[in-house]
């Protein structure tokens, strides 16, 4: 996981609410045993027609949206299962940031742990971005240190993030490493519990 402080990327608008994890990565692709290679299957049922050809109507398939690294969607994004294949698929496809009015809990955690930044903005702010995306391809500037989303046309919004995750993401740290430094405390806890029983 490499850290990020600020970056500029192309945004794609997916104006749908309650996008669930079965939609993000359909279950027939969960059988792999690696963490990579899921990008091809992202939004599979929407991206491809029954005959396997790309669905040209689908937002991600529009030529102007190629190479997008920021996904803007509607409320309750990522509801459904705890499968981490969903953020792996988003990441493997090239998304670094997902913006929505709200996210499902587990999905949000899974994003953070994999270095994807889930940004919750107000509904009105998200609607502005969604409306913009319907007209044209656009770029956004994400500044994690300042906690802002801005664009060249004067859009500017702030987003919340816990200081814990901010530090983790900015530095690209591995959580297990940090926990292992507390090994003494874990051992002490285990000992005390075993005595109590």
């Amino acid at each position: 996981m490499s850290g990020f402080k600020e970056f500029e990327g192309k945004a794609v608008a997916l104006d749908r609410a309650n996008v669930d994890t079965d939609q993000i990565i359909p279950k027939q692709f969960l059988k792999r045993i690696e963490k990579t290679g899921f990008g091809k299957y992202l939004f599979y049922d929407w991206r491809y027609n029954a005959d396997g050809q790309p669905n040209e109507e689908f937002e991600l398939n529009k030529p102007e949206n190629a190479g997008a690294s920021i996904l803007v969607a509607n409320e309750n994004f990522g509801c459904g299962s705890s499968r981490e294949h969903a953020p792996w698929a988003l990441l493997d496809y090239g998304f670094k940031v997902v913006i929505a009015p709200s996210f499902a809990d587990i999905f949000k955690q899974n994003c953070l742990k994999n270095g994807i930044l889930p940004i919750a903005l107000d509904e009105a702010e998200v609607n502005t971005l969604l409306a913009k995306g319907k007209e044209k391809a656009f770029s956004l500037n994400i500044n994690l240190e300042e906690q802002t989303v801005t664009d060249q046309d004067g859009f500017s919004a702030e987003f919340p993030i816990s200081s814990y995750w901010k530090t983790m993401l900015v530095n690209g740290w591995d959580e297990i490493e940090i926990t292992m430094q507390l090994d003494d405390k874990i051992s002490a806890y285990e000992k005390q519990k075993e005595v109590a029983q």
């Binding site: 359909p26 279950k27 059988k31 705890s82 499968r83 587990i106 955690q109 742990k113 926990t179």
Partner: protein
């Protein structure tokens, strides 16, 4: 101020606290299955890490095991996941109830069944329906694969303390109304987000009167309401269920544990962040008609119309869902024709579920054109059902009687609902494509699924009971 069960379990498990950080929580039981673990084990291997407490870890395979001819896995990728789990468990010393073990089954069925699930424990698994174990007064929640790796390596997790929601269900359930209907009713009424950010504690007469299996059905679907965990304070019902099970405390120690467990129950004056009250008398057998579990109606009602909704998002969701489901606004639920029936999944595949479905099926025949499956939740459930002769009741009626696994709950194995066809399913999710691409899922109780199998469409099981009592 009193404490809730969540407060008590939390306090008991904090290993480390630090300003501005989530708490580091100790994990008592880590359940592992073949789909969400391979990447975690390979992460450990890459960094030369060990499993810290194999004795607090337990694995099984359930998601893509075949439910017939279980030794002939034709899907090479599924086979690869299963053999990978075997190799990983052998290499890291993790106990495994593999394909040949009499203990094999759906992870959320076998945890309780083997006595691994106990009150006051923190329990995690790389699976969102881990909330099932909350029925025992455990704090149990689903985690992602990075967290699976973290727990394997450290036996801990960084967690922020969730808020608490007291869901109180009082009154009396009508005959034919089950635990499944209770939770579907809650979802229909409060939506798929009411529990987001909360741990739900289910309380009230209705819950107290329930068996452990019924409580598991309720807690199982907490995640469908957005809550990572749902639980019930432990009581005598809980304790007597655990007694004598394979991994339960020994007979000599049992009383000591039982006393300790009871103390985890919420205090009378415990405070909650949110309270919801439900009138049990109002609950009917429920049927989902749409593409999320809150799109559910009473069996004697109709599918809503766009006029029933205020916002554009809601109207749009209704239209999208009905287009996918091939149903009409205002259509009567009892007129929905079904071609498949699935009795199984971690929501409703335990012995009581199978018994109550068999009760409805006994001496009758599956409607022509309906394909019906019973998939017991575990090999133990299967055996118990066979000892009671329940398998014969199903087979004689025209059902298929299968081996244990997740099966058609998510159709990762060969058990798939064809596109465009309707399935009355006792599982927990009716998302688009869940039971197969284009498959149309209706969530119901085991009794309702059984009655639908016999009639080819939904029927109100309360009527069956009325006829019987006349």
């Amino acid at each position: 101020m009193g404490k809730s069960i969540v407060d008590k379990i939390w306090e008991d498990h904090v290993v480390h606290k630090e300003e501005g950080k989530p708490d580091l929580l100790y994990i008592d039981l880590h359940l592992v299955h073949e789909v969400t673990s391979p990447q975690a084990f390979s992460g450990l291997r890459m960094k030369n890490r060990k499993v810290r407490r194999p004795d607090k870890t337990f694995a099984t395979m359930d998601h893509n095991v075949p439910t017939i001819n279980r030794h002939q896995v034709t899907d090479t990728v599924a086979l690869n996941q299963m053999t990978t789990l075997e190799k990983n468990c052998a290499e890291f010393g993790v106990p495994l109830a593999g394909i040949d073990s009499p203990d094999q089954g759906i992870v959320h069925v076998i945890g309780p069944e083997l006595g691994l699930t106990q009150p006051g424990k923190t329990i995690v698994c790389g699976d969102s329906h881990t909330s099932t174990h909350g029925a025992f007064g455990a704090l149990a929640f689903g985690i992602g694969t990075s967290e699976v790796e973290h727990v394997l390596a450290t036996q801990t997790l960084w967690q922020s303390k969730p808020q608490t929601l007291k869901l109180e269900i009082n009154g009396k359930l009508a005959q034919g109304v089950t635990a499944k209907d209770v939770i579907l009713y809650v979802l229909a009424k409060h939506g798929i987000k009411f529990g987001t950010g909360y741990v739900i504690e289910y309380c009230g007469d209705v819950i107290r009167d329930m068996s452990m299996e019924e409580r598991m059905t309720i807690c199982n679907m907490s995640i469908e309401g957005g809550a990572r965990a749902g639980l019930v304070s432990p009581d005598e019902t809980t304790i007597s269920y655990i007694k004598g099970r394979k991994y339960a405390p020994s007979a000599e120690q049992f009383e000591v544990y039982a006393e300790k467990w009871k103390n985890y129950a919420s205090d009378e004056d415990a405070e909650y962040d949110k309270i919801i009250e439900i009138d049990g008398n109002d609950i009917a057998p429920m049927v989902s008609w749409g593409t999320n579990p809150a799109m559910t109606a009473k069996v004697d009602a109709q599918i809503p119309t766009t006029d029933d909704y205020k916002t554009e998002i809601e109207k749009d969701s209704l239209k999208r869902a009905l287009a996918y489901m091939g149903l009409e606004e205002g259509q009567r639920i009892e007129d929905i024709q079904i071609q498949h029936v699935f009795i199984g999944s971690c929501t409703n595949s335990r012995i009581e579920d199978i018994r109550s479905a068999a009760e409805v099926v006994k001496g009758k025949k599956v409607h022509p054109g309906v394909r019906a499956l019973v998939v017991p939740g575990s090999q133990h459930v299967k055996k118990a059902a066979e000892e009671e002769g329940l398998d014969k009741i199903f087979v004689e009626a025209g059902f298929e009687w299968r081996d244990a696994g997740c099966s058609m709950c998510l159709s990762m194995n060969a058990d798939v609902v064809p596109s465009g066809e309707h399935c009355a399913s006792t599982s927990n999710r009716n998302f688009e494509g869940r039971q197969g691409s284009g498959a149309r899922t209706h969530l119901v109780s085991p009794e309702m699924a059984a009655a639908a199998a016999l009639n080819g469409h939904f029927v109100d099981v309360r009527k069956l009971f009325t006829v019987e009592t006349v």
